[in-house]
């Protein structure tokens, strides 16, 4: 106790302490009044602002995963409002002023959790499944918006296995964007950045650099999704069809996010087409 008292007596700092506290507290309690000091003593000044920006860049990595997820979901929402994803409900025989659209295609963002490109038949696993409304035989497109990725094969409650475009069993209906001639897109198992477009009629004009898009003839992809550009074409002797090599837009080797497309009117269309085929 005596020592404590001695400390108190020996204080030459009391005066300085009081001055500093008064300065600090008056700064603090006047912080909302707009004076010139507030700009200097806050992150608005150049040095601190610059450091802030730098530190922000450093620890924005902490939330990168959730930011990515939010963006993917937002993109899916935006894609659903594109005209291509909607089904025109306007009936032409009756004059209706209302041009409401009904949702035809539903986009679901998914993260790739497993992927391969080195097998003859490649599959991709994504982290969305039945619980999120996914069905087998739905189209999967790249998260960056360009290029198709595959078709869902098996759907479990939380995961789906996608047959990659790099799979010899894949068949996608595609057409030349310029003149609408269509063919079937397959993979020959050779290059991971190319697919083969077959069954394009011989009389159709097809040139190097032509853009290939989905035809919309299957229920898997809506019409007009970009696939790739023509690399080279040839006609096999005796064949009536072109064969073209297509450079893909989507690089399946480095994908992270994809969108699964569900055609909400698929059942209706399938039933109708089957009914006709069985006649």
């Amino acid at each position: 106790m005596q020592k404590l008292f001695l400390y108190l007596v020996r204080f030459n700092g009391v005066f300085i302490f009081l001055i500093l506290e008064v300065i600090a507290l008056s700064l603090y309690f006047t912080r909302n009044t707009t004076t010139e000091k507030s700009a200097f003593l806050s992150s608005a000044n150049g040095v601190v602002g610059g450091l802030f920006e730098y530190s922000n860049r450093v620890y924005s990595y902490w939330s990168l995963a959730s930011t990515n997820k939010e963006l993917a979901e937002e993109n899916a929402r935006l894609r659903m409002s594109l005209p291509g994803a909607q089904y025109k409900q306007l009936v032409t025989t009756i004059k209706v002023q209302d041009t409401t659209y009904a949702q035809q295609f539903k986009y679901t963002a998914a993260l790739i959790v497993n992927n391969s490109t080195n097998n003859p038949n490649n599959f991709i696993t994504i982290n969305r499944g039945k619980k999120h409304g996914l069905l087998a035989s739905s189209g999967v497109v790249s998260g960056t918006g360009e290029g198709i990725v595959g078709i869902t094969r098996k759907v479990s409650p939380h995961y789906s296995v996608v047959m990659s475009v790099l799979n010899r069993a894949i068949r996608v209906s595609a057409k030349i964007k310029r003149n609408n001639y269509f063919g079937v897109l397959t993979w020959d198992g050779k290059r991971t950045d190319q697919m083969v477009l077959e069954s394009v009629p011989k009389h159709a004009e097809i040139n190097k650099g032509d853009t290939i898009v989905t035809s919309g003839f299957s229920t898997m992809f809506p019409e007009g999704i970009l696939i790739g550009t023509v690399d080279s074409t040839f006609i096999e002797s005796g064949s009536n069809f072109h064969t073209a090599y297509i450079n893909l837009f989507a690089d399946v080797g480095n994908l992270q996010y994809v969108y699964v497309i569900n055609d909400l009117m698929r059942d209706e269309r399938k039933k109708l087409e089957e009914a006709v085929a069985n006649e």
């Binding site: 008056s26 000091k37 003593l41 806050s42 450091l51």
Partner: protein, 168 residues
């Protein structure tokens, strides 16, 4: 410019960096809980330094922190208070054999038990002053913030002593 001075200058920047670039971002990530380890700079200053210079150092250091937290003067006020209280706390916790003149008050030189007591009192005072000045009322939020900030800050300060052990 002896070794001790240089060590303190290095610590000045190291703690500033840890506080502003790691703990500040972390506090924003886990919600409104702030973790403050910067008082450890004042806590670890050499004993023989005159009180007046410690106070002025604390004021400058607090203003630095304030610039980044956009709290004009708040941290400066709290840190000056902590610096002012430090001799009292040291006197209270004085071991039987007394302090050595050249001694720095680290876990290494004083033992873990002593250091935890010392940190608890210093951080307790600091957090109390800080949260009270920020809330300006004794509500549930005040209590919650007090408890959480105090315990997390104490934890990080003790961790700091393990991650960056100082022999002098």
């Amino acid at each position: 410019m002896n070794k001790l001075t240089l060590a303190n200058i290095a610590r000045f920047w190291l703690i500033l960096f840890l506080q502003l670039f790691i703990l500040k971002g972390m506090g924003e990530d886990i919600g409104q809980i702030d973790v403050y380890i910067y008082p450890i700079f004042i806590m670890l200053l050499p004993l023989q330094l005159p009180l007046a210079s410690i106070l002025i150092l604390a004021f400058i250091y607090g203003l630095f922190i304030d610039m980044f937290y956009d709290n004009d003067g708040l941290h400066a006020a709290c840190l000056v208070l902590v610096a002012f209280i430090r001799p009292l706390v040291c006197a209270l916790l004085e071991p039987r054999r007394g302090y050595e003149i050249q001694q720095t008050l680290t876990r290494y030189s004083m033992g873990l038990r002593w250091f935890v007591q010392y940190s608890a009192i210093m951080i307790g005072i600091h957090t109390f002053a800080l949260v009270t000045l920020e809330e300006l009322s004794f509500s549930i939020t005040w209590l919650l913030r007090l408890v959480l900030t105090f315990s997390l800050s104490l934890l990080f300060i003790i961790l700091y002593q393990f991650i960056f052990p100082q022999k002098q």
